[in-house]
Symmetry: C2
Subunit: 386 residues, 2 copies
């Protein structure tokens, strides 16, 4: 097991009717900016619940943060924060809104001239403006971690940021909200959280016995609840296990002390930036080809996964590993997610090279848990995904 | 799944050579009291590592905190804290030292006249004196939770305390320290952490799908590493998984959203207070009879445990449940722990009644996840343990 440090101070408030507790978690004299996305919260009752819960607290609103939060829109919100002397942020939404608010938390206290530097120069945020979240869509785990991904439309860039200053002070997780999530987004949430676990688990045996068990436990739970939550998002018990699994999939715990991959995400971000493919679907597209291409270095863990998660008992290590890849592809397809790149874009020529070149331009030439996946490998992996 | 709140802000610093990082975690101007137990840290090199790491920081020492930290000894340490204007505590030890320091953290800021009230009146600690820990013995999980157990020798009382003010600021977990732990204490650590998980898991199905998987994962890991760590405590990889499993067994995570039992602990504490039996051994003694006595209400989870953790595939639910109990008893015995009360005390007459009466006197008349275990039941369960 590798040495590690783990600290996650976010206060999770989980369950039915918990949105009403927001005001207990925000300082009474705070000047709050409530941020949300395209307005679905005004249709499903969450907007009313949140604003009712904020009674007695001074707050402004900023709606319209798009999926893959765009830098240009976030700059408008940043101007509101400065103009209105905001000192506490409240994200009401899924991963995109929460990630956008994390950028704002950092940018609001950033002393440089150009907030984009936080992303392009990889500046770690030690201290951000305090913020809480009300999660409306289980998927990214952003509600209990200190990372974020922000997109810049004009340059088609999608970059990551983070730091210990970016943990939410609190996050309210009411599984009842899942009832109004469209099925497409539930499928995305299942695939996204599933891949988050895979990226932290599917490497090589490294003595992380408990980390492996926890990772396998999240995968098993997602597989177990997927049919129920896809069939009826108002099934509270299924939604609760789905939501808690998404959070634990990326709150830092399972990656501590073990190697991690994240190459699927790095390649997937480029597909989203280039073609606007849903984040989760880019992951589902690339999983099969990434694991097949890297079978030799990943086969022990792939076989362990096939055995423990899918109950595959027959075959050699390599055969089990391949069965694990196939089961994963079938799981994504069972969610209605197409897993071939050709299902998403006609641009069959040049895409693989484009992705490779874009990563190369940013110096991301050594991906994967061994740091051995070069732009040449990326090109082959993406090409295999057609 | 039940509603829950989860926040655990302790900074875990895990791995080889991490004790040297202590000074980074303590305010430079702090006046520190370093507390430890019977002096084993002076023999195994940990004392030297800690004091070397504290270079440049002003600190005093208090040694001699006994197993099952005694109130009388802790009062002496409290006097030192007040006399020397201490404002930061450092526990170097196992669960007893850490629990003792938690009491001191609370008592140092307590405004009442009688610190024992914190225990006897169940006063919750909202704010304590900040403290860190250097763990020398994996077992109790106290290094990453906010609870403690303190004993008062004169009245033979062993009482629990806790509150959000009692999380360690940091805990240093270096698995290398396991190399010098006597085998008896390693066995105790395995049994203690194993039972911690059982108390939070062995109730009834309650929709905590992920919590069940995590609990089962900790149990599987403890079973997997037990032979290696018993055979050679210097096996770093085994010690690392053992240590991290003990911490995760009782850091709050697996109990969130699900019912918990804790009756074994409540009865076990009385056996320790009455006869001085090692805490972990009291748990091993009572597990079999508690689960057998409560088979009807626990059989679904017992059968699930037998299947998933021990691979029991044959039989009815009840047969699997009984197999699970038997496997547990055999696991404890495999650690060299005798699991019958008659192995520990000749006082075969009256013990069961004594335990029942003591719990009754403290108003603990409704134990277990259903609150249905009365002193009459306690008497029968303890009697069955002979």
């Amino acid at each position: 097991m590798n040495n590690f440090q783990f600290r996650n101070p976010t206060n999770i408030i989980f369950g039915k009717g918990q949105i009403s507790k927001i005001a207990d978690e925000i300082p009474k004299d705070a000047k709050v900016l409530m941020l949300y996305g395209g307005g679905s919260i005004k249709k499903n009752g969450i907007y009313e619940q949140v604003t009712a819960a904020l009674k007695g607290i001074s707050f402004e609103e900023f709606g319209g943060i798009p999926a893959n939060p765009e830098y240009e829109v976030l700059l408008e919100a940043l101007a509101v924060i400065k103009e209105k002397n905001i000192d506490f942020l409240l994200a009401v939404g899924g991963g995109s809104v929460i990630d956008g608010v994390k950028f704002l938390s950092s940018a609001a206290l950033y002393e440089g001239d150009e907030p984009w530097d936080i992303l392009s120069k990889g500046i770690r945020t030690e201290k951000g403006m305090p913020f809480g979240t009300v999660l409306t869509l289980p998927a990214t785990g952003s509600e209990m971690n200190s990372g974020a991904v922000v997109t810049r439309a004009e340059t088609k860039e999608k970059l990551v940021m983070g730091g210990p200053g970016l943990f939410p002070v609190f996050s309210i997780l009411d599984p009842s909200v899942v009832a109004s999530v469209p099925q497409r987004q539930i499928a995305n949430g299942l695939a996204d959280s599933f891949t988050h676990v895979l990226e932290q688990y599917m490497t090589y045996p490294a003595g992380g016995l408990l980390q492996d068990r926890f990772s396998e436990g999240i995968l098993q739970t997602l597989i177990e609840v997927a049919p129920a939550v896809m069939k009826d998002p108002a099934d509270y018990e299924a939604a609760a296990s789905f939501m808690w699994s998404c959070t634990l999939a990326l709150n830092g715990l399972i990656q501590k002390g073990v190697p991690t991959d994240w190459a699927i995400h790095m390649m997937g971000h480029e597909l989203t930036a280039l073609y606007g493919i849903d984040h989760a679907r880019t992951l589902a597209i690339l999983t099969d080809s990434h694991y097949t291409y890297n079978l030799e270095t990943k086969k022990e863990k792939l076989a362990q996964y096939a055995e423990r998660v899918w109950g595959v008992t027959e075959g050699t290590t390599e055969e089990k590993a391949k069965a694990g890849i196939q089961k994963t592809k079938e799981f994504f397809e069972s969610l209605g997610i197409k897993t071939n790149l050709s299902d998403y874009t006609d641009e069959s020529e040049g895409t693989a090279q484009k992705v490779a070149n874009r990563l190369k331009e940013r110096g991301m030439t050594k991906l994967g848990e061994h740091g051995t996946i070069t732009p040449t490998d990326v090109e082959k992996i993406v090409a295999m995904a057609y």
